[in-house]
């Protein structure tokens, strides 16, 4: 039923001071340079263009931070979030969604259309890795730049909040060092390209026999394989018992890192309805079952000398890689940020999150506690929960929030105007 009683027919246009507009425009020109390279399919002077692009984006973001945050006393600054086209599913939001989605589609299936971008990133790749860029280097670098620059923005947006400051430094550090610099250096040293901040089943390849075989050639690879096993079977339960799943999801993980930084302007777009929670539980555990089955089939196939399953396990793996690995986690997971919020993948799809969530709900000290009778049911906590948890439903009853999906970002506690919520564990 349409609820006509609670509608403001035409909210006034959002108030954006001109200096903020200049800042946003500078950043947009930086992005435009990348788009030109993408569209042209070639670049005349890759290094200067790349430097110009990143500098413009950095300058734009820094100016925005100064204008929007540093010039004002520190505090919660969500003014106009639901009025702005970009952050309220308006035309700009849709346009950005289409742009990112298009990029991911090219990345996974039509990398021939990324030649311009690959050429643009080649000097950097040569300098860092001693080899030309490919689409994955372009992706990894853009991803890292997004986490870094938007991380700076997030850091200053929440500069009054020590938990947010620390957490942001952590996600940026892990993305920069463990998911970008280290793998690049390993490539440079002729070692396997390993990402120590991801584990099976999130990086589903890592647990497969194909991966195992490729790791056999180096000590580091073998270490990585067993490190992944240890993290899955021992690290996850133990760390989650003490800290909740946040030790990974909002402090280390790259997907979480992007969501917490670049995705922050879209966190309120997650669906808070009970219906969404029901879908979430089926989907995320379904994906976990899918990845376990997929990996098991591959190993059974190896164990039986490919006699029983033959091509089937391989096909099953490819299906997972297409449906979950590329489409869900990438195209939908990030491409739909401006439409569905920043944690669609983490909430509905990530098998690692499912595994962490089981431990968090069943066996963890972590919870969000509520403060007596202070809740005024305002709804800020629910609105700004990127995982779509209806935090208010707990807070107004004075109940602790124990939910498998909570990544412990701490924003509910930050935006609460009455000091009702606290992460504990």
């Amino acid at each position: 039923m349409q609820d006509f009683s609670l509608s403001i027919a035409q909210p006034a246009p959002a108030f954006t001071p001109w200096r903020q507009k200049v800042a946003l425009s500078l950043g947009a020109v930086g992005v435009l340079l990348l788009l030109i390279a993408w569209a042209a399919g070639k670049v005349l002077a890759p290094l200067p263009v790349l430097i110009a692009s990143f500098s413009l984006m950095a300058t734009g973001i820094w100016l925005f931070v100064r204008e929007a945050y540093l010039k004002h006393p520190s505090g919660i600054r969500n003014n106009g979030t639901w009025f702005r086209s970009l952050t309220a599913r308006g035309p700009w939001g849709w346009a950005l969604g289409v742009l990112i989605t298009g990029f991911y589609v090219c990345l996974y299936w039509f990398s021939q259309y990324l030649h311009g971008l690959i050429a643009l990133f080649t000097p950097l790749s040569e300098a860092l890795r001693h080899r030309p860029a490919d689409q994955w280097f372009v992706y990894g670098t853009l991803y890292t730049v997004a986490v870094l620059l938007m991380g700076v923005k997030f850091f200053f947006k929440y500069r009054h909040n020590a938990y947010q400051r620390l957490r942001t430094v952590s996600v940026v550090f892990f993305q920069l060092c463990f998911a970008w610099l280290l793998p690049s250096l390993l490539v440079r040293l002729q070692q396997p390209e390993l990402y120590f901040s991801y584990f099976w089943p999130l990086s589903y390849y890592q647990g497969t026999p194909m991966a195992y075989r490729s790791y056999l050639n180096s000590d580091l690879g073998l270490f990585y394989f067993f490190f992944g096993l240890v993290m899955f079977f021992i690290g996850t339960p133990v760390l989650t018992y003490f800290f909740g799943k946040r030790w990974y999801c909002s402090w280390i993980c790259g997907c979480g890192g992007l969501a917490e930084t670049a995705g922050d302007p879209f966190r309120h777009l997650s669906d808070k309805r009970l219906r969404a929670w029901k879908i979430e539980r089926w989907m995320i555990h379904g994906v976990l079952a899918f990845v376990v089955l997929m990996t098991a089939l591959l190993w059974i196939n190896v164990a039986t000398g490919s006699r029983v399953l033959q091509q089937f396990s391989e096909a099953f793996y490819k299906t997972y890689a297409f449906l979950i690995g590329a489409t869900f986690s990438g195209v939908v997971g990030v491409g739909f940020y401006p439409l569905l919020g920043s944690r669609v993948w983490c909430r509905f799809g990530c098998p690692m999150a499912a595994w962490l969530g089981i431990w968090q709900r069943k066996k963890s000290r972590f919870r969000i506690t509520t403060n007596g009778g202070l809740c005024i049911s305002c709804g800020n906590c629910s609105a700004y929960c990127e995982m779509g948890i209806d935090v208010r439903a707990y807070a107004q009853r004075g109940e602790d929030v124990v939910r498998a999906s909570c990544v412990g970002c701490g924003i509910c506690s930050a935006v609460c105007p009455r000091g009702v919520l606290r992460l504990e564990g």
């Binding site: 009683s5 403001i8 006034a12 108030f15 629910s382 609105a383 105007p417 000091g419 504990e424």
Partner: protein, 448 residues
């Protein structure tokens, strides 16, 4: 039994929910204002763009049918207590066995010239927010009259849209009829820090109209004319009971009720802002227009109606607010001017945005109140200490357990204890830092 509740604010809805929990009574909630319950205290966040209107609804729309709580959008114009019948503006007639009046408040106006002009209003109802939105288009300046909780909210609302605000406050410092001088000064400074044109010791004298009957300026008590397209009158609220006058219902400031929240008419109750307690509990006012009291009354009346007559006992006073970026929590008794029988321990951070105040009895050392700005304390623990009359030194030694700030925040309880030591020559030390396990221990300690 057929229960009809007038008003779908927090009082009425809490009553409805608890009646449903405890009984099979038929429940009908009538509201003129909105189809669904919403959080009135959060209206400002819609204007500021933090929330959408639908985000104010604490329950999804299916909740009401599922819990067999009927909702009706109608204006009740007449109550026939004799025949237990309500008459609505659209000509409907509703009967009840039990009536709960939870009609809330209306904004005060004190007879200023021009107070009914277009662009002059308070902020209480949903419709007030809609009107504010209409008047905000092209608005060059807003004047807010009245230095209380709604006044500062309204100032923050306009400020968030880049609309200059002049804030007229009668007192010599913001809300110093409630806040002690130090806290009041801190908030006054914070208001100025945000660039609000704060005018202390200033009252409204008159509102001037333009040719279209819209407000164009105010004249202050100092005779100054300030041109503005909007005047917010936030000088308190009073019970919304006018349509019930000239009935047998006994009305003073609000609808008079006893300690069971019963009115003078059988089977008719009044709760929330519109109720006036004949004998308020010690230290409480007869009419308390606030969320927490309304919620407690709703729960109390539900018990009574469902066969478990319950005295209204709001417990230890507590309240919370947020003044721009500074959160405020108060527990117990913190008078604006510390009376001679009370001692006050006040610590403030040099950044001017955090403070802790603990009041205690000068002779017995019993703690009587906490005041927090920019620091969060645990309601349950403060309440326990206050109920049990804990000694100031017990409280100080365990103060770490009361801290509810987010993790990684610096804690200042040590400084509060040191301040006490310096002042008294004692050598107390903080036994524990905050944390859940410590909380349990503290509860254990306090209950021994």
């Amino acid at each position: 039994m057929n229960v009809v509740i007038l008003g779908n604010g927090v009082a009425g809805i809490t009553a409805a929910r608890h009646i449903r929990k405890r009984s099979n009574h038929s429940i009908l909630v009538v509201s003129e204002e909105t189809d669904y319950f919403f959080s009135r205290t959060a209206l400002m966040y819609v204007y500021m763009g933090h929330l959408r209107p639908q985000d104010l609804k604490p329950y999804e729309d299916w909740f009401w049918a599922k819990n067999r709580i009927q909702l009706l959008r109608a204006r009740v114009t007449k109550v026939d207590f004799e025949n237990k019948t309500l008459r609505t503006a659209d000509g409907r007639s509703l009967t009840y066995d039990c009536l709960i009046l939870a009609t809330g408040s209306k904004s005060n106006k004190f007879g200023w010239p021009g107070q009914d002009l277009d662009g002059v209003q308070g902020l209480y109802h949903w419709q007030d927010l809609e009107a504010m939105e209409r008047h905000s288009r092209g608005l060059k300046r807003a004047v807010v009259v009245g230095g209380g909780l709604i006044g500062i909210e309204m100032a923050e609302m306009f400020h968030s849209r880049g609309i200059p605000v002049t804030f007229l406050v009668r007192e010599s410092s913001f809300w110093n009829n409630v806040l002690p001088a130090e806290e009041s000064a801190m908030i006054s400074r914070h208001i100025l820090e945000h660039g609000i044109d704060l005018r202390l010791n200033t009252e409204l004298r008159e509102i001037l109209p333009d040719a279209q009957g819209k407000c164009r300026a105010v004249i202050t008590s100092h005779g100054e004319e300030i041109s503005c397209g909007f005047v917010g009158l936030t000088v308190g609220v009073s019970p919304n009971v006018d349509f019930l006058r000239d009935t047998p219902l006994e009305i003073g400031l609000g609808i008079r009720v006893d300690e069971f929240l019963r009115t003078n008419i059988p089977d008719v109750y009044a709760i929330g802002d519109c109720a006036e307690l004949r004998q308020p509990p010690p230290g409480r006012r007869p009419v308390e227009a606030m969320w927490y009291s309304a919620r407690a009354m709703g729960e109390t009346v539900a018990r009574t109606i469902c066969g478990e007559p319950t005295l209204y006992n709001p417990g230890i006073w507590f309240n919370s607010a947020k003044f721009f970026d500074i959160e405020y929590q108060t527990y117990g008794n913190i008078p604006p001017i510390c009376p001679p029988e009370m001692e006050t321990l006040f610590w403030a951070h040099p950044d001017g945005r955090k403070s802790i105040r603990i009041n205690y009895d000068r002779i017995t050392g019993t703690v009587v109140g906490f005041n927090l700005l920019g620091i969060r304390y645990r309601h349950a623990l403060c309440d326990l200490w206050l109920r049990q009359g804990a000694h100031i030194e017990t409280v100080l030694e365990n103060l770490g357990a009361a801290n509810f700030d987010p993790e990684c925040y610096p804690a200042y309880e040590v400084e509060v204890v040191n301040l006490y030591n310096r002042r008294t020559g004692r050598a107390l030390s903080l036994k524990q830092r905050r944390g859940l396990s410590w909380l349990r221990k503290a509860f254990h300690l306090a209950s021994n």
